[in-house]
């Protein structure tokens, strides 16, 4: 046993472990250094450092009743708990807790798919069910519904939704927390609470009306620390009969504004799934004149060079779901709208497949779209193909991305907002003396959330120097980036524990009233502060002095 929970004696901890063993069985309580290795964040910036966020123990309950028993024992002994579902939230801390020495409640054994309804289009799952598990269940039972999966499918619908994760189909399914309907939570007292219609004991519509009656606390459990979620219902997209894609290319930089306006219109009419923005300019970045123009936001020069090279300034790839005829009709309508808004727009027919696609169709690597990832995730087929990103490559055969981290700022959903963000991020990079990675005039947004854009920032920091000092310096730089971005109005939507206080600190409107509100609730609901103290910057009184201590 390498560490103890803060302020807990070895005797108290031993007594707590005995009660945990009684709750879940001795074989599912892990305390040795060897057993706890997989409970560390494999990508941590502070790996093997004295402040690494490692647990003191891990426990693996198999039922809600066992979770209740664990929470009651933890309350008795004032042991901080940190719950994980599949523990695969990599880039955002993986399975590691916010407080070193917490006991990890590993919910992986609670892996039952409780219901999939392909007439009323929802599923109910436990936390240990992964996207891959849910997909296989649907396939095995020949059910006509889709899973909206994030890139790596080893995560769980519950864990991903609770960290506000995203997917790639239609807008209302892509927001995974937004697509949840009804949850069951073990509160810090050990009581079980159900949200929405689940609060009505005889309800027959728990997963069809999420608000129930009165104030709905469900949002407190997303990136929250008010309880341990043991069941959730999710809306599922009906399996469509047909999938079609098409790309729109526009010649000039300023064309992005009407392009985004038109895509927004189509998105909010539920005509298209996730739009994928890109540009044709990346190939010109090797040209010194063009690169200087892009870094300097010289639109005239950029447009002239793009025209000379016969490449388009922006593109968007669109997904249509429906029948063969309706998808074709919607693609034709899209062309009509785009031509009205941008007379010089060009179009490329993409793919047109009857659903479900065959394995050969999914694996196809010919034009127009070389990436089969899009064929997988745009129709809810979870996998791990994306894991090439942090892995070895032919160019770097003996290296991997040890500092794999996700940081994305929210941007308004317009072309003007993108242009402003590009300039703002470039100014931050310049101010902080950073090599400019994305911040220039060709950075594209992603539209994971239907109503907002997101742009990455800070990627690559720490990759060039993976020594402890190098990682520490990179983490410090990330904190500066976050702080500078926030001054300009950009906040991040997720963060690893290492940076959660920094991000939370930026949501400071009216003297941090949101944080004060959350912490007032926290102290009332969890007086001993045992449930995930520090999660998303919400610290209970017992641990509040730890705010900002992780540097």
């Amino acid at each position: 046993m390498a560490v103890l929970p803060p302020g807990v004696s070895a005797e108290t901890f031993a007594a707590a472990i005995k009660e945990f063993e009684a709750a879940v069985g001795k074989e599912w309580v892990f305390t040795s250094d060897e057993d706890l290795v997989p409970y560390r964040d494999h990508f941590s910036y502070i790996k093997n450092q004295p402040n690494e966020l490692i647990p003191s123990a891990a426990v693996g309950p198999d039922s809600t009743e066992q979770v209740q028993a664990l929470v009651r024992a933890a309350n008795k002994h004032k042991i901080p708990l940190y719950a994980i579902s599949t523990g695969k939230n990599f880039a955002y801390g993986g399975p590691s807790p916010n407080v070193r020495g917490s006991v990890t409640v590993d919910l992986k054994r609670m892996n039952r798919v409780l219901e999939v309804n392909d007439k009323r289009y929802y599923a109910v799952v436990e936390p240990g069910v992964s996207y891959i598990d849910l997909y296989r269940h649907i396939q095995d039972h020949n059910l006509k519904v889709w899973v909206d999966t994030p890139d790596p499918g080893w995560g769980s619908p519950i864990g991903n939704a609770l960290d506000h994760g995203i997917g790639y189909t239609m807008g209302n399914y892509r927001d995974h927390f937004g697509a949840h309907y009804g949850m069951e939570v073990v509160l810090p007292s050990g009581e079980i609470m159900r949200t929405g219609m689940g609060a009505l004991p005889a309800s027959k519509s728990w997963h069809e009306y999420k608000h129930g009656f009165g104030p709905d606390p469900a949002g407190l459990f997303g990136q929250g620390n008010f309880g341990i979620v043991t069941k959730m219902g999710f809306r599922l997209m009906p399996q469509p009969e047909h999938w079609r894609t098409g790309a729109v290319m526009v010649p000039k930089r300023a064309d992005l504004i009407p392009l985004v306006d038109t895509v927004n219109y189509l998105t909010d009419l539920a005509i298209i799934g996730e739009p994928w923005y890109g540009n044709g300019l990346a190939a010109l970045m090797g040209n010194t004149d063009f690169r200087e123009a892009a870094m300097g936001f010289n639109e005239t020069v950029m447009d002239a060079q793009a025209a000379a090279a016969k490449v388009h300034s922006w593109q968007v790839e669109l997904q249509f779901y429906g029948s063969e005829r309706t998808t074709l009709s919607n693609w034709e309508y899209t062309k009509e709208l785009m031509t009205r808004a941008i007379p010089n727009a060009r179009f490329m027919d993409g793919e047109s497949f009857k659903v479900p696609l065959s394995r050969e169709q999914i694996s196809k690597s010919t034009t127009p779209y070389r990436s089969n990832m899009r064929r997988n995730i745009t129709q809810g087929v979870p996998g791990l193909g994306i894991w090439w990103m942090p892995s070895r490559s032919d160019a770097n055969p003996n290296a991997w991305d040890e500092t794999h981290i996700g940081l994305f700022s929210l941007i308004g959903r317009s072309g003007e907002a993108i242009f402003q963000a590009q300039k703002d991020f470039a100014s931050v990079a310049k101010k902080l003396g950073m090599p400019s990675l994305f911040p220039n005039a060709i950075q594209t947004p992603v539209n994971w959330y239907q109503y907002a854009f997101i742009m990455g920032n800070g990627f690559g920091l720490g990759r060039s120097d993976t020594s402890p000092e190098g990682k520490k310096a990179a983490a410090a730089k990330l904190r500066e980036v976050l702080a500078e971005n926030a001054k300009l109005g950009y906040g991040d939507y997720r963060a690893p524990p290492m940076l959660q206080d920094d991000v939370a600190d930026q949501y400071s409107y009216n003297n941090h009233v949101l944080r004060r509100f959350n912490e007032t609730l926290k102290d009332a609901i969890d007086p001993n502060g045992i449930i995930m103290p520090g999660r998303a910057g919400v610290w209970p009184a017992a641990y509040r002095s730890m705010r900002g201590s992780l540097k």
Binding site: W28, F30, E34, D35, V37, P38, Y39, R40, H42, F43, A58, G60, T86, G87, K88, F90, G94, P95, D106, K108, R109, G128, I132, R136, G153, W154, S363, S365, R370, S371, N372, M373, N376, G383, L384, G385, I386, W387, W388, P390, S391, R392, S393, D394, P397, W400, D401, H404
Partner: protein, 128 residues
Amino acid sequence: MSAATRTAAIAALTLLFASAASAQQTAVQRGDAKFQHSCTPCHGAGVGDDGRAMLPGTDALRIKYRDAKPPVPALLEQRTDLTAPAIRAFVRNGSFSMPPFRPTELTDAEISDIAAYIADKAKRAPRR
């Protein structure tokens, strides 16, 4: 030992060997199912994402062993050198971008089943 007793003992031994064989077979089958569930999304055959020819785990091992002599297959199911302790070491500790896996995801018994499955697969593979 009477003839009847001897017959009973032989029958019992036969049953014991039969059930041992059956348990071994079951371990291979269990290992197959677990391997397909937990390992193939990264270490299986088939194309990878974003135009890559292989899935990430398979591709990483192709790169790792690209100069190995004698050659080491990129596909785990073609390996002949993967004992249960070796698999366990990789599973519990991770390697490069492969994170470690917890006992709640793969128990030690399941890792042994996977080793039995891979060994069986190697035994059945045509000699190279």
